[in-house]
């Protein structure tokens, strides 16, 4: 019998990637295509949904050709950039405007107005998340307000709304010709329009944001058949969809309460599974939907997003020219044995979790003539470690769950100095899995689970293998706990510096 393979599409912020995985969870083939970033005004970030759809078709066809004759591809799973908002015409499939990307800040003013309303408390109470421009709902409202005739057309049922997975699934299943209009529960939870307990669109929230229900997709579990991708050859069942960070949690096999992963990319995203009970947060992490298997209760997670992690190393390379490539930061940092009293707080455009202080601005603290570029490089890496500790502490306070180990992925995990620092700063083992493509693997797992490539999540857990582990040193952990208040002081300074 031929091997059974699963196709995954990772529709990301800069590119669309199609990957094929085997039953062992090993990557068999990959194709990738970048799309244009449109910046029409300061703070505005847009993508062309038609370009992304074309890239999806093209990379899927390529990767399916790559593996043809080697195995049977039996299902498709999708992971996508979260909160990016598309509105298109039901009859033609034409978007009425370019997609508003999650990094877009044009709704800041609108969000301030909405947040000032007396009934604004409803948003946090029902959606589980504080009202913020980060989420999709305010972007949809902006489109309805600003694109001519959008609202009346939406009310008449002529327009459809979706995040990226919804847009792709609708097109894959036929588009104007019978396309399935669905979203997965993790993506729906990032709109501020869904009741986080019932996992249905909430009439009160729709009224608050002024969104016509007629344009909304049906909310479906993350794991389960959503439709048939007739646009592909061969046609495949679309059997899984997840927001990218939730997909990484799934790909890292964090299925038990307490299990957590952190993806170290441009920013860092830490998600901890909290089980089937929603955790009310007070300490700066946010509660989000982790995943849902068809016919089972929703699993929740705590999430801590940090805006600047790898981006700080890029700044060291491009902004300061101290290194020629990102990995060289470790070489430079190893020219010294400590940070020389130097701290870098990378609040380039404010601080996200757990501080949520948009006004904070970056700073370098503790400069003396003793400090060299080596100390600066070390402080840059340590900033990512300290920020991970900030988030983990906030989550521990909210969930009361201990963190047995932190599973990591992303480009920065090849940096041994950083990974050891994270282990010491958290006093927790840090482990890296064999398959670094956790986002697309998570999408493949979701789809494969739905069609029986894997029997249950325990089978997925058996696929997870440790490629490396960084074990905390008790002495270093103690020393870093003693040093942590100094970092916290630097953070407070960065907030004070940016305060009006």
């Amino acid at each position: 019998m031929a091997d059974r393979y699963v196709l995954a599409v990772d529709q990301g912020t800069t590119s669309t990637r199609s990957l094929v995985f085997d039953r062992g969870g090993r990557m068999v083939a990959v194709r990738q295509r970048e799309h244009r970033q449109h910046f029409p005004r300061p703070g505005w970030v847009e993508h062309d949904p038609m370009e992304i759809w074309a890239n999806t078709q093209r990379t899927c066809a390529q990767v399916l050709a790559d593996v043809s004759g080697r195995g049977d591809v039996v299902a498709l799973g999708i992971a996508n950039q979260r909160e990016t908002t598309v509105v298109w015409e039901r009859d033609t499939g034409r978007p009425i405007t370019r997609a508003l990307v999650w990094q877009d800040t044009r709704t800041d003013e609108l969000v301030s107005e909405l947040a000032a309303r007396p009934d604004a408390g409803l948003v946090a109470e029902r959606s589980g998340m504080a009202i913020a421009g980060y989420f999709a709902g305010p972007r949809l409202r902006w489109i309805l307000d600003r694109v001519p005739r959008a609202r009346e057309r939406a009310e008449r049922g002529e327009l459809l709304f979706g995040t990226m997975e919804t847009w792709l699934i609708w097109n894959l299943t036929g588009g104007p010709d019978g396309g399935v209009h669905v979203t997965d529960v993790t993506n729906a939870s990032r709109t501020l329009l869904m009741d986080v307990r019932t996992c249905r669109w909430d009439a009160g929230l729709l009224a608050f944001f002024g969104i016509p229900a007629a344009m909304l997709p049906e909310i479906r579990p993350s794991v389960g058949v959503l439709g048939v991708a007739t646009a592909l050859s061969p046609a495949l069942p679309i059997a899984g969809a997840l927001g990218d960070q939730q997909a990484a949690l799934f790909g890292q096999a964090c299925f038990a309460p307490g299990e957590a992963k952190c993806t170290y990319g441009t920013g860092s995203f830490l998600l901890q599974n909290t089980g089937t009970e929603l955790v009310r947060t007070r300490s700066g992490s946010i509660s989000t939907v982790a995943y849902q298997l068809a016919g089972e209760p929703v699993h929740y997670a705590l999430e801590g997003s940090v805006a600047v992690a790898g981006a700080l190393v890029q700044w060291l390379r491009d902004g300061l020219g101290l290194i020629g490539s990102a990995p060289e930061v470790e070489t430079l940092a190893r020219t010294v044995s400590d940070n020389g009293g130097c701290y870098v707080v990378p609040a380039f455009s404010g601080l996200l979790a757990p501080h949520w202080r948009g006004e904070a601005r970056g700073l370098v603290a503790g400069l003396t003539s003793y400090v060299t570029k080596g100390h600066l490089a070390r402080a840059v890496l340590e900033a990512t470690g300290w920020q991970t500790r900030d988030v983990v502490q906030a989550m521990a306070a909210d969930s009361g769950l201990s963190l047995p180990a932190l599973r990591v992925d992303g480009g920065m995990t090849t940096n041994n100095l950083l990974m050891q620092f994270v282990a010491d700063a958290l006093d927790t083992p840090v482990v890296r899995p064999m398959v670094g493509e956790t986002v697309s693997l998570g999408a493949a797992y979701a789809a494969g689970l739905a069609v029986g490539v894997w029997s249950d999540v325990e089978a997925l857990r058996r696929n997870w293998h440790r490629a490396a582990q960084w074990t905390p040193s008790p002495d270093r952990a103690q020393a870093l706990t003693a040093e942590y208040p100094t970092w916290e002081r630097a953070v407070q300074l960065s907030i004070a510096w940016g305060a009006p």
Binding site: R26, M27, E328, G411, T414, N416, H465, R466, A467, A468
Partner: protein, 261 residues
């Protein structure tokens, strides 16, 4: 392919006659040619160059041929004119070990996942075989990250590095290597090295060279595990495994720019 000393100036070809004590004439002449070519800002023909450095055209031609071989000049196929070669640019570009790890990571992970064995990438640092990257054996047993550890030269990784180390590469060979020159010659010829209990009884290893953009061996990539799972009864590497190791080493070499230009 082999990159050995015959590319550099060699006393036996008559170009290295010593003019003044402490000064090698052919190197002085080659340096003068490089300065002329660099100073032209573009490309020059052999006649222009021989006139500029005041040498016979045949002598200039011989020197240019050697400079061409080592990549210090390049010759336009259509015009026959000479320009500075990319080999000169790479002289100043040292391959950072952390960069090496980052760029090999995808391929070394895949090698471990497919082979079921622990994977190490090693390079020579001051004549020692140093582990740059280590991927655990994918069985979730307790293992310790060995990045930065020094391995003995009798490991498969050590043999690959020693077989390809040469003074003109800037790499000193691993010290105290109890490996025969015949074995090292074989490692060079066939493109991989084995270790069958030399370092630790019962332990086996299989490694292949990783080449940088200029073609020099910059690292060795290999698997290690129980000798019996790597080799058959005759001591030959099990064939799917050997292909996995050499394919992964080629893939990392391609990632580093080898064979792309």
């Amino acid at each position: 392919m082999s990159h050995s000393a015959h590319c550099a100036t060699n006393p036996s070809d008559g170009l290295a006659s010593v003019a003044v004590p402490g000064s090698v004439q052919s190197i002085e002449r080659a340096a003068a040619i490089l300065q002329v070519v660099a100073g032209s800002g573009g490309s020059l023909g052999v006649t222009d160059i021989s006139e500029a450095v005041g040498l016979a055209k045949t002598t200039t031609h011989s020197l240019l041929r050697t400079l061409l071989l080592v990549g210090f000049v390049e010759q336009d196929r259509a015009t026959g004119r000479y320009a500075l070669g990319t080999g000169l640019l790479r002289l100043g570009a040292h391959l950072d070990v952390n960069e090496l790890r980052a760029r090999s990571s995808n391929w070394s992970d895949a090698l471990a996942a497919r082979s079921g064995h622990a994977v190490r990438l090693a390079t020579l640092v001051g004549g020692e075989v140093v582990v740059v990257h280590h991927v655990f054996r994918p069985d979730d047993s307790a293992q310790v990250l060995e990045v930065g550890d020094v391995l003995p030269p009798t490991t498969a990784l050590g043999k690959v590095l020693r077989a390809h180390s040469h003074p003109h590469t800037g790499h000193r060979p691993p010290a105290g290597a109890a490996v025969s020159t015949a074995e090292l010659a074989e490692v060079r010829a066939r493109g991989w090295a084995t270790e069958q209990g030399e370092y630790e009884a019962g332990l086996g290893g299989l490694a292949a060279p990783v080449r940088g953009a200029g073609g020099l061996v910059v690292a060795a990539l290999g698997v290690s595990g129980p000798r019996s799972s790597l080799f058959d009864a005759r001591g030959l590497p099990r064939s799917p495994l050997l292909a996995m190791v050499t394919d992964a080493a080629h893939a990392v070499s391609r990632e580093l720019g080898h064979g792309s230009g």
